[in-house]
Amino acid sequence: MIIEFGHYALVLAFALTLVQSIIPFWGGITGNERLMAVASPVSVMLFILVLISFIVLTMAYLSSDFSVLNVVQNSHSAKPFLYKFTGVWGNHEGSMLLWVLILVFFGALVGFFGGNLPADLRALTLAVQGWVTAGFILFLLATSNPFQRVVNPPLEGADLNPILQDIGLAIHPPLLYVGYVGFSITFSFAVAALILGRTDAAWARWVRPWTLLAWCFLTLGIAMGSYWAYYELGWGGWWFWDPVENASFMPWLAGTALLHSAIVMEKREALKVWTILLAIFTFSLSLLGTFLVRSGVLTSVHAFATDPARGVFILGLLCIFIGGSLALYAWRAPMLKQGGLFAPISREGGLVLNNLFLTAACAAVFVGTLYPLVLDAITGETISVGAPFFNLTFGPLMIPLLMAVPFGPILSWKRGDLLAACQRLYVALGIALAMTLFTFWLWGMEKVLAPLGVGLGVWVMAGAVSEILTRVKLFEIGLKRGISRLWGLPGSAWGTAVAHFGVGVTVLGIVTASAFQEEHIQTMRPGDSVELSGYQVTFDGAAPRRGPNYTEEVGHFTIRKGGVVVSELDPSKRVYTARQMPTTEAGIYTTGFSQVYLSLGESRGDGAVDVRVYFKPMITLIWIGCVIMSIGAVFSMADRRLRVGAPKPSRKRTAAAAPAPAE
């Protein structure tokens, strides 16, 4: 009964999205405020309905109800509780339900917190969100219904793909989806703005918190996915330029560009046409990613099941939404008024530069990801575009962008002074040069590019710090007053600086981990040792062990530094019983920001085993940097000027809470 209730709630949600697609839209274009008022309560109701069906599906998983086909195919009664839970979205149907849940969640957020929006914009935005939701619920019900029942339920399920049985699965997809799907709301805002002809600075101001929210989660989701692949696949790599990774990286690049161009639109009413286009592109890339991953065009852990009907359906949705929005754009965009002017050297100019490089990089990733598919479809020739392609195209486009990052926030609006900006940055430049020389001195000339890369990372970090210090004029007004001014800085200023600092941290991590890593692949017998980067890794032996739904061969290793034991690691190779599928569990010892990484290969009888040993200097900085970037986004969202919510009460509150001016 409960399961059918969840099924019914999903069907009801579909019918309600149709109502949502029609009534507020009609009201919005004809100015009937009663019809517009329907949008907000219905958006909340939709969220409740989809949430009910999601909770019901979760309950079916937790109670191992094998009368639900989806549970039979993806669960197992012996699976640990956590993986029964996370298994809900570890398969095609469940993950699409999560997709829809996040879609309506963002709609409900706008419905609930959108009190400061004009009624027509809010109604139309929610109606457009309703169109997207209707398309995806129809996709669920028609091709991948998670509530399909089995008449004679079996007693055991087929278990979850073991690679997905990891805490990473609990965190990575929901984060990624919130980001991915979150850009749907900026898309809806953009389409609504085009329909209403209302693209002005205020629009950009209203959209920005939503972009920030989606971007923040997408950043975390990608970072989490990267770390998960790093320790679960056992290859020691953290980014493979795999098409599925690219599918999530392209919306990130476009979304980052959108974040920056929206600032120009908000402050100067310039770049309107471009910002709207970016908003459409970002979500289109999210849809494209979903298509690539879900249609089975690509082979990967993420491609749960391949069914041509699903691919065709998503392709249809893709064409309708992207084609429709671009057609609307082509029709309405020429009517938009031109905005403010600016000189090439100015804050706007810097943000334009940022957009140019980010979109060019996004285009490079796009070509590299889709070219093999297109070539295969046209000529039947199978090629692979791997890391060398992306290193050669993406890398050179990022370097000038990173060099320019510290200048951007320091230039003033409209007309900037590059020389003055340079003067403000000379300390940062000095630190970066010093670090470059220091790295050269440490490593010599054998790796010429690496010290330059280190310098680049430090330059971005130091630039971010010096931006904050310049803003409060710390050196001019003294420490005490400086700190109090630091406190009074607007959240968006902090957000910019923190996020840029995070970029520098990630760059530093990427450079050091790639250039200075040490790797040994060796067959080891018990008692054998490997020396690397000052650590001595000794293999003590291997023993079998049983887990709840797998058996594993666990190697025991002792890590010593200067003869002193610093850590013991137990990397293992597992075989999951239900699917007879092996996985590798890496052993990782973190010291400072660096890691010693062990993964086991084949056993060779006689107690010997192939072992892969890495020393990855400062590798954790890659992910720490991403977390810092997201914290930056949170700072920006916390800016009182951007705070979402009904305008009147929140303004009263902030006026009371705002600190007295420092003067």
Binding site: M1, I2, E4, F5, Y8, V11, L12, F14, A15, L16, V19, I22, I23, W26, G27, T30, G31, N32, E33, R34, L35, M36, A37, V38, S40, P41, V42, V44, L49, A60, S63, S64, D65, F66, S67, S77, N116, L117, P118, A119, D120, L121, L141, V151, P153, L155, D200, A201, A202, W206, K267, E269, G340, S412, K414, G488, P647, P661, A662, E663
Partner: protein
């Protein structure tokens, strides 16, 4: 019924979410829209002032920004939002109300009837495994015993109960493993050894493997006169190509046996084949394979009847003819692993009554009952 009430309530809630905002009076949209715009631009003006105070921007830049924002403020307040005639408006509202009251429930219900299966109950695994044994499919009963054994892997009698069941549902490997466990825990037993050998043989398409031979040998050493193990041993000799020994074994086996026994025919056929006097019968391990063939053709209900028949057969025989202490204990145990505590208690009481005059046996039964957590009454 409950289900229909619930979905009716849910549908009503969704309809209300549309109807309530439609029925309220609102201020005209145009005014509200320009207010929202103005709020943004006023904030921007405040920001410029604050930045100027902090010295973050030059006074000229602040002035330029203010002019720009003021221009936006002006154009926002001039914005004209189109509004429709009152008559058209009320028509719109009626259509919207119609959508909510008619379309929403009708579409949802129609689509759900097409897609859903409202009559199918939830079937969480634990409930299926814990419900009454009566009327459950044989798979559920097996899963229940398996769960019991997973928790009590040292329950030898439990393994002995499930082993023949595995045979009847066509899983000879599992059956052999169960017999092996029972033998390891309880100790050697000629019948179990024989059945284990048979299971191994069937699992190998009728080939008597070395493990199976070992089991049959051990069974014969425990019970030299037993027919079944000797039958398989003779078969093994034939399969190994030791024709003379096989012929001797078959002849010894058939010596003085009752011709009406089912296995005799098969044995004669084997013997004839070995002696080359009969058309060869394709590698027949004996009647057992046919048994399995029969059971695997059975429907689920037939199997269920069969498994319950096995337990109730034992129960009937014990209550009618009486039986050994071991048999009584086995019955109680069978009921317990099938989750039928009530019947186990009854069996205990019957057993206590049957052995009331024999204190030694009585204490054996009581010990077994204690282990099972039975109290008797």
């Amino acid at each position: 019924m409950m289900f229909w009430i619930l979905i009716a309530a849910l549908t009503a809630a969704a309809t209300l979410a549309v109807l309530v905002p439609l029925s309220r009076n609102r201020q005209p949209a145009g005014a509200a829209a320009s207010k929202a715009d103005e709020a943004v631009y006023r904030e921007q003006l405040e920001t410029v002032d604050r930045d100027l105070k902090r010295g973050l921007i030059e006074p000229e830049a602040a002035e330029a920004a203010r002019t720009e924002i003021a221009r936006r403020l002006l154009s926002a307040s001039e914005r004209q939002t189109q509004t429709v005639e009152k008559s058209e408006r009320s028509l719109q509202n009626k259509i919207a109300i119609g959508l909510a009251i008619v379309f929403l429930p009708a579409a949802t219900f129609g689509l759900y009837i097409f897609l859903g299966s409202p009559d199918q109950p939830d079937q969480p695994l634990s409930a299926r495994l814990e419900g009454p044994a009566q009327g459950q499919s044989v798979d559920v009963l097996v899963a229940r015993v398996e769960r019991h054994l997973a928790e009590n892997p040292e329950d030898g009698q439990g393994w002995a109960v499930i082993a023949p069941v595995y045979m009847t549902i066509g899983q000879p490997e599992s059956s052999a493993r169960a017999y092996a466990n029972a033998l390891r825990i309880v100790g050697p037993n000629a019948d179990w050894l024989t059945d284990m050998g048979e299971a191994l043989t069937i699992a190998n398409q009728g080939l008597v493997t070395a493990d199976a031979r070992k089991a049959f040998d051990q069974a014969v050493s425990l019970q030299p006169e037993a027919v079944k193990p000797r039958f398989f041993l003779a078969l093994a000799l034939g399969q190994e190509g030791r024709t003379d020994e096989a012929v001797a074994a078959w002849e010894q086996l058939l010596e003085g046996e009752d011709e009406t026994q089912a296995w005799v025919g098969a044995a004669r056929a084997q013997l004839a084949e070995l002696q080359g006097t009969a058309p060869p019968v394709a590698n027949r391990p004996g009647p057992t394979e046919e048994d399995i063939a029969v059971t695997s053709d059975m429907t689920a209900e037939d199997r269920q009847t069969m498994i319950q028949g096995m337990v109730s057969g034992l129960a009937e025989r014990l209550s009618a003819e009486g039986g050994s202490v071991d048999e009584w204990n086995q019955l109680m145990r069978a009921y317990m692993v099938l989750g039928e505590k009530q019947k186990a208690e009854t069996a205990l009481n019957d057993a206590l009554a049957a052995y009331a005059e024999n204190p030694d046996d009585l204490s054996l039964i009581k010990d077994a009952a204690d282990q099972l957590g039975l109290t008797g009454s």
